[in-house]
């Protein structure tokens, strides 16, 4: 029945070519959204209604809109309009639509066109500030193949919309509902990154919650504090700590009467996740871990007793840690050892737990190699990597990133860790990684990225501006000979301190990605994601 509808709609579509692009796209959108649930009559009725709506709106906009603006955004614009569900319209491409729909329809078409063109020029000028974020999601969405019946418009994550007061207000309302305090921004933000949060380490979120914390589980409070102070840092460590805290929460959880564990526990976890997000933005690996835990909780059968359910959840979490982190590390290490030969000079950057593990394992298996540890301010994480490797007995050299082009001629391989692997093959890692990959490419040194599959992320990003994390700018202050330079940086109006945490490396610079599924090229990440989704 549904397929027949589809084909009939298709035929209808093909015959209605003369109606113009707008109607065709409207049909496509409708086909996606309405799906198979409605009956034929209802569908026809809805179609008529929408045609009417479209006609009214078309009077306002006119045809030239579609000619001036490049195709993908207009497609998105049309889709969004014809959507039944109200879409939050924060993105830049959609604002022309929302603005013009609020105008009176009485204006003449020529005037409207002129206005629109002026607005578009202004928007294009402002585009540089907002980055590609607004354009990308719509274009990404609209290119989805028409036979995938999924809602296409996704909301922009709130953590890249800090300069939009509406989004900030929405977040504040949500946090208020969950009884989580809002963390206040700190310091002057560099304009290119004004859409991201910037917090001060000296103003922890615990200032605003009661001391024997009742709303948030004490383990989660402790975890949030450890995240914001940097005591638990590194993608793997954060995920393990998060799962550990979830285990504690589940252990202490008591199902309230008339509630089901599978639904109530997920609701209990939501404010905790918001709280942790406020302390420090969640990483991709943490996001995947949370998705897994939520899925496991919802899959608990309703007839299950509380004790059994809890035990099952705890063992699921244990298994996840064991499989995805511990065993994955062993597997990756086994693969990576094949790539390490005697006499190698290996370059590593910062402190990646996985890369350290690989090197220590290789050393245990009696490979002869030496390591060059590259470090960068302000975190200086390389010192910790250096300590661990030297403690093991590996021969190490330590340089700062400014010297990387000097030592690269001596390097035979570069091993990099990753924070996340994005769906278009880009590697998101500590800031400075793309620098090293670039220089290594220039010197023809192979770059190998080691990453577990649970860090694979469905996000797409091509630059480091859109979605990043801003650390405390006071970290950039340094004390030399008793004098703190940049002590009063806030007083200088024109000065902004920027402390970026992540950057993205294009797949052209990465030669191989070593995962627990094997050694794959960077561009195979979407394949892995698809396989993973099918499995689960």
């Amino acid at each position: 029945m549904a397929d027949a509808d589809e084909t009939s709609k298709q035929a209808e579509r093909n015959t209605n070519v003369g109606d113009g692009i707008a109607v065709k796209k409207q049909d496509i959108a409708r086909a996606k959204n309405e799906g198979k649930e409605l009956t034929k009559d209802e569908k026809q009725r809805l179609r008529k209604e929408k045609k009417q709506q479209k006609k009214n709106k078309k009077d306002d906009k006119g045809e030239s809109e579609h000619e001036n603006v490049p195709l993908p955004p207009s497609q998105a614009v049309v889709q969004c309009q014809s959507q039944k569900a109200p879409s939050v319209a924060p993105s830049l491409a959609l604002t022309p639509v929302s603005v013009c729909t609020s105008e009176k329809p009485a204006k003449s078409k020529a005037e409207q066109r002129a206005e629109r063109r002026a607005r578009q020029e202004a928007d294009r000028a402002a585009k540089g500030k907002k980055g590609e974020s607004a354009q990308q999601p719509p274009s990404g969405k609209s290119k989805a193949p028409p036979n995938e019946l999924q809602p296409v418009v996704k909301r922009l994550p709130e953590h890249v919309q800090v300069d939009d007061p509406a989004a900030v207000r929405k977040l504040a309302k949500k946090l208020e509902r969950q009884q989580i305090p809002v963390r206040s921004e700190y310091g002057y933000k560099v304009s290119l990154f004004s859409h991201l949060h910037q917090y001060s380490r000296k103003a922890p979120l615990t200032q605003q919650i009661s001391i024997p914390s009742t709303v948030i589980h004490p383990y989660i409070v402790r975890l949030g504090l450890q995240y914001s102070q940097g005591i638990v840092a590194g993608s793997n460590a954060r995920s393990i700590a998060l799962l550990h805290a979830f285990q504690k929460v589940i252990q202490d959880y008591k199902t309230p009467p008339n509630e089901e564990l599978s639904r109530d526990l997920v609701n209990k976890l939501k404010p905790y996740i918001s709280y942790l997000n406020q302390c420090r933005p969640l990483s991709a690996s943490m996001g995947n871990a949370i998705k897994y835990v939520k899925k496991e909780i919802s899959n608990i059968p309703c007839l299950c007793k509380e004790e059994e359910a809890k035990k099952q959840l705890l063992s699921c979490i244990d298994n996840y840690i064991k499989e995805k982190i511990t065993l994955a590390a062993t597997t990756i290490s086994a693969y990576a050892i094949e790539k390490i030969s005697n006499g190698d000079v290996i370059l590593v950057y910062g402190c990646s737990s996985l890369v350290n593990h690989i090197l220590c394992d290789a050393f245990d298996k009696k490979r002869k190699f030496s390591v060059i540890v590259v470090d960068s301010r302000p975190r200086l994480e390389g010192r910790e990597a250096l300590r661990r490797l030297v403690k093991k007995g590996i021969c190490c050299t330590y340089v700062l990133i400014s010297a990387v082009s000097y030592i690269l001629p001596e390097v035979s391989k570069v091993f990099l860790g990753a924070h996340a692997l994005l769906a278009n093959g880009y590697v998101m890692s500590r800031v400075g990684t793309s620098q090293i990959a670039l220089v290594a490419k220039a010197y023809n040194v192979p770059v190998l990225v080691c990453c577990e599959t649970y860090k694979f992320c469905e996000r797409v990003q091509t630059d480091s501006f859109v979605s990043n994390e801003l650390d405390d700018p006071d970290d950039l202050m340094v004390t030399r000979k008793g004098k703190i330079h940049l002590e009063n940086w806030q007083d200088i109006r024109q000065l902004g301190l920027l402390n970026l945490v992540y950057d993205v490396t294009p797949p052209d610079f990465v030669d191989l990605v070593i995962t627990d599924l094997g050694m794959i090229p960077c561009t195979s990440v979407p394949v892995v994601l698809r396989v993973k989704n099918v499995d689960q």
Binding site: T206, I211, R222, A233, I321, T326, R387
Partner: protein
């Protein structure tokens, strides 16, 4: 539940017997509120909902919420102890051990402070510490202490506190009295923390966050009787003692330790979920120190932290001088939200009441009096032409006409006869000063001891 608060209010106030022989220390009025109100207010402001108060029977009778003028709905769980033998704070904690189910926050009833409590508790939480405490810079008392002739007595023995380079980790703590041959610091401490600051001008606020396993340890070791005197120095030393290498067979070690008669703190402190904590620490790229080859915290399980308040109000009212200083300080608006002059006080037109004076409830101040930098307790009567400067009058005091009171402490229900001239005196409770009397730097009280 994360933390339970335990308020120690059983102390006798042995260093200010002139004040406490009649009024118990927790109920001494400071700024017209009982002394115990200040720590309770601190806990309430921060969000505590329950407090366990350990005190004597006499004080318990007075600890009703309306007497204490507490606005919030904090539940007070009062536990009585007998005062026959000298029960130390650790003994008192052992006494209430049954009620303690989580980590504890122990504080003393004589603490007046406006510290941001989250600073101390954050250290406790973030580093998973065994103990976190509060200290403050010692303020020199400038006011002349009434009743003390001549120079001030030699100061109490100093405390030597050693902190690491960050100023948060507590490395060394000893009192001057214990250091007869000089200050010795173990080489292992110097190896682990080559940079140590030793400070002497610090006041211990007697506010401690203790882990649950420390309380259990106290229960096992009955020979520790004072928290400040014995437990804290023990914990600080224990950070650096050679750790017992826990063998695979934990039971074996436990048995052998029990045979020695002392249970090791570390065995009690090791949690069951240490495996995951260890895993997290292994993978985290953070270290609390740099420059040597050891892991974070040097692998030590016992950690003690201190938060040192550089500015702000922090007093321990355990001496007369501190009592007077505290009375001055609380007129600063930070601690008390009530107006300094109670609305029910009756003050006549021609009186001068300074901005930094506190007048209690139902007072009657008559004409032509001048009250400067003083505290007048509840239900006091001050007649005409009286000059009160720099003084503290407790509840129910009657001051007849023409008196001149300067720098003194008048305890409750005392009567000062007319035209009396009192300078730097301490008038005991229910005492009577004869009219036209002149008291200069003496303590007037009946000899009860």
């Amino acid at each position: 539940m994360e933390l339970q608060a335990v308020l120690m209010a059983a102390g006798g106030g042995s260093r200010m017997m002139e004040l406490t022989y009649n009024t118990h220390k927790p109920l001494l009025p400071v700024g017209n509120k009982p002394l115990i109100w200040y720590p309770l207010n601190l806990l309430e402001r921060v969000g505590f909902e329950e407090v366990i108060i350990i005190t004597t029977k006499d004080v318990q009778k007075m600890l009703t919420p309306d007497r204490l003028k507490l606005d919030g709905k904090m539940k007070l769980d009062v536990v009585c102890i007998q005062l026959e033998g000298e029960m130390g704070t650790a003994d008192a904690l052992r006494h209430v051990q049954q009620k303690i189910k989580t980590d504890v926050l122990v504080l003393s009833c004589d603490l007046i402070t406006d510290v941001a409590l989250h600073e101390v508790v954050d250290l406790f939480r973030a580093h998973n510490a065994s103990m976190a405490m509060l200290m403050s810079k010692l303020h020199e008392f400038t006011e002349t202490v009434p009743g003390q002739k001549g120079k001030k007595k030699a100061g109490e023995q100093r405390d030597f506190v050693g902190v690491d380079a960050t100023g948060q980790r507590l490395l060394f703590m000893a009192n001057e009295a214990d250091l007869e041959d000089g200050l010795t610091i173990r080489k292992s401490i110097m190896c682990k923390h080559p940079s140590m600051r030793i400070r002497t001008g610090l006041l211990d606020a007697h506010l401690y966050c203790l882990k649950r396993c420390v309380v259990d340890f106290l229960v096992e070791n009955k020979n520790i009787s004072s928290i400040r005197g014995e437990l804290i120095p023990y914990l600080v030393r224990k950070q650096f003692s050679k750790s017992v290498n826990l063998p695979n067979n934990k039971d074996e070690v436990e048995m052998s330790q029990k045979m020695e008669g002392q249970t090791n703190l570390e065995i009690l402190g090791s949690c069951k979920d240490e495996e995951l904590l260890r895993l997290t620490q292994e993978r985290s790229c953070w270290n609390d120190h740099h420059g040597d080859m050891s892991e974070a915290y040097h692998g030590g399980k016992v950690r003690c932290y201190v938060h040192i308040m550089e500015d702000g109000v922090c007093y321990r009212v355990n001496t007369l001088a501190a009592y007077i200083e505290a009375n001055r300080m609380v007129s600063a608006p930070k601690l008390i939200e009530d107006p300094p002059i109670h609305p029910s006080a009756v003050i006549s037109e021609c009186t001068q009441v300074g901005a930094d004076s506190i007048i209690g409830a139902s007072c009657q101040i008559s004409d032509k009096t001048s009250i400067k930098r003083s505290t007048v307790g509840a239900s006091s009567t001050v007649r005409e032409k009286v000059k009160i400067t720099n003084s503290i009058l407790m509840n129910g005091v009657t001051v007849e006409e023409g008196c001149n009171i300067q720098g003194s402490v008048i305890c409750s229900n005392a009567v000062i006869g007319r035209n009396a001239d009192i300078k730097y005196c301490l008038v005991g409770s229910s005492q009577r000063i004869e009219p036209d009397g002149e008291c200069l730097t003496q303590a007037v009280s009946c000899n009860l001891f």
